[in-house]
């Protein structure tokens, strides 16, 4: 089974982050949520590997302390 990459793997992380935020600039929250959903689906299709996606779901779903209402 392939392993989800959790070490840094993006060149130019600051440039990536700025581009991601630019995608959402000036949008309503609902519009942004739609963009995020489409983005996840597009990236998931690109990754293709179901086991990788399952690991990513687990990593993203492990809720933070804050979201537990602590």
């Amino acid at each position: 089974m392939s392993r989800l990459i959790t070490d840094p793997n993006l060149p130019d992380p600051d440039g990536f982050y700025a581009e991601l935020l630019k995608l959402h600039e000036g949008r309503e929250e609902a519009e942004s949520a739609g963009i995020n959903a489409r983005l996840i689906l597009i990236l998931a299709n690109h990754i293709g590997d179901r086991s990788i996606l399952t690991q990513a779901f687990a990593a993203a779903g492990a809720s933070s302390k804050k979201e537990q209402g602590a």
Partner: protein, 542 residues
């Protein structure tokens, strides 16, 4: 005992210029005796260019100003002859921690490689730094260098002439006029000279307020940069804690946009905020409190005829990343050798345009980094905050998210890729010291490489024969030949040779690489030198 910022270091004295029938003409006038104006004056003095520094005040500045000085500016200050005092006094730091909510999400170590003379950063109050600069300038004056530092001389009028600049100066004894061949404006972010010349200053204002407090306390926090996102003591906002010398600590607390600034500055209110952060039982005194709104902006051009803008007068950034004063030192480092060569008739006036293009490039890099940090720290929208908090959450568990956490990208020097002054590269040599890049330090047999590179052009030969001495059109080029097998460490070899067996580097007086070759070839070196002083090939032919 009075504090250094309370002592008049260069009190007003009447100058003969005030009694002259006609305005006296000086080669260079620098307006502003802040860190950048003082550095400019010292640099020009080292080039034996006569300079008059005008400052509306007569002492070093007080208050919450620059505190973090990065490796490259420290190297510049070494070349100016005052780095040691600053590093001896300053607090050296390499480590930082980032907190989110109630937990530490990660720690970092800037891990300076070994074999550099200077650390990644020191923290030092700006008033100490300015004091050492004034002392250095006064030592140069005492040694006979043609420099004057005039306190309580405020520039209140400026007029561009065909061959210079005319200034009106206000003093306690009235106003006088003087002229300069060149004017260097180092009069800060609010630059009255820029205003008087009607020049624009464009960019972004960040809709947020930060409370900046310098507090004196005995605390056992480690010598680290601590940054909090959304901490319990400042909900929804950020906070920063940084150590300075003399038991002084810098604390930044983000307040948000809709606040009553006057109320937030009330000492009791500030103390309550600080107690929530530091704990009820930590005793402290407030040295300084102010509220800032951050801006990222610059002038379209830094050269306007014979007026050259440097430091905050030319560009302004948010403080996250310490890119303000640090980039100002790199401005005058870039400018002064060029101005000296032009004034001595050794280089064409066009060389000064490269100050503009190279330092605008650097300012854009600083503004980009500083803007991105500020966007991360103060998200502008709900979605932006969602991503920011997701990055912080993930960073506690996954290494991949840590490079995305942006609490300030700390000042690094610009590499002037594509500069018109750059000469040929040699692809086999390490990219970090390519043409346009600042030289990287390394130990020599008895000293450090950068200490050996003074304010002249240098030819550095590594395992390659060089002439004993070199002069090009009457300008000396110092030749430094290094044999790697006699060096105490492999650092120079790794940094300048990589896998190659020999190399020759031509370096500018500001220690930036002009060009490099596998071995010495006279015609190549001469051509690159001419290019580096603004005689690009077509102009040589003309």
């Amino acid at each position: 005992m009075s504090k250094i910022f309370e002592v008049p270091l260069y009190p007003y004295r009447r100058s003969a210029d005030q009694d002259a029938a006609q305005p006296t003409r000086h080669p260079v006038v620098v307006v502003g005796a802040g860190p950048i104006g003082l550095a400019a004056a010292i640099d020009l003095a080292l080039h034996d260019v006569p300079v008059v520094v005008l400052d509306e005040n007569d002492r070093v500045s007080w208050g919450s100003r620059a505190i973090c000085f990065a490796k490259r500016p420290l190297e510049i200050l070494d070349r100016l002859g005052c780095g040691d005092a600053m590093v001896d006094k300053g607090v050296v730091w390499n480590r930082g921690k980032v907190f989110f909510d109630e937990r530490q999400v990660y720690g970092f170590d800037l891990l300076p490689e070994s074999d550099h003379k200077r650390p990644a950063f020191i923290n030092l109050q700006q008033y100490h730094l300015e004091h050492y600069l004034v002392a250095r300038l006064q030592a140069l004056i005492a040694a006979g260098k043609p420099v004057e530092l005039r306190g309580a001389n405020k520039a209140v009028g400026v007029e561009q002439l065909d061959d210079g600049v005319r200034l009106s100066i206000e003093t306690p004894e009235g106003t006088y006029v003087l002229e300069a061949d060149f004017l260097i404006a180092c009069d800060g972010a609010h630059s009255p000279l820029r205003e008087m010349l009607g020049l624009g200053f464009h960019g972004r204002v960040f809709e947020d307020n930060f409370l900046i407090a310098d507090v004196v306390m005995d605390a056992d926090f480690p010598t680290e940069r601590w940054f909090w996102f959304d901490p319990p003591f400042n909900r929804g906002q950020s906070a920063l804690l940084h150590k300075q010398p003399d038991r002084v600590w810098r604390i930044d607390l983000q307040l948000g946009w809709q606040v009553d600034k006057e109320r937030e500055k009330e000492p009791e209110r500030v103390k309550a905020r600080l107690k929530a952060m530091l704990g009820e039982d930590v005793g402290f005194e407030l040295e300084w409190v102010s509220i800032y709104t951050f801006q990222c902006r610059r002038m379209d051009r830094f050269r306007h005829g014979r007026v050259l803008f440097a430091g905050d007068a030319a560009h302004q950034v948010s403080p996250f990343g310490a890119r303000g004063a640090n980039s100002g030192f790199q401005d005058t480092d870039n400018l002064c050798w060029k101005l000296a060569m032009v004034m001595k008739g050794k280089a064409p006036m066009a060389l000064l345009d490269s100050y503009d293009s190279e330092r605008v490039q650097a300012a854009d890099e600083n503004i980009l980094n500083s803007t991105r940090s500020t966007d991360f720290i103060t998200p502008k929208s709900a979605t932006s905050r969602l991503f920011r908090d997701a990055v912080l959450d993930l960073s506690a568990h996954y290494a991949f998210a840590r490079p995305l956490v942006n609490s300030g990208r700390l000042s690094l020097p610009a590499t002037h890729d594509g500069s018109i002054l750059n000469g040929p590269d040699c692809a086999d040599l390490p990219p970090a010291v390519r043409p346009g890049a600042p030289a990287v330090d390394a130990p020599l047999e008895e000293s450090w490489l950068l200490d050996r590179l003074d304010s002249r052009f240098h030819l550095l030969g590594i395992d390659s024969d060089l002439p004993d001495s070199l002069e090009i059109d009457g300008i000396p080029v110092d030749c430094l030949s290094v044999k790697t097998d006699s060096l105490p460490s492999p650092a120079l070899s790794a940094r300048y040779l990589g896998d190659a067996t020999s190399a020759v580097y031509l370096l500018r007086p500001d220690q930036h690489v002009v060009a490099r070759w596998p071995s010495y070839q006279e015609a190549e070196v001469f051509a690159a030198f001419n290019r580096a002083i603004g005689l690009a090939p077509r102009e040589v032919a003309a």
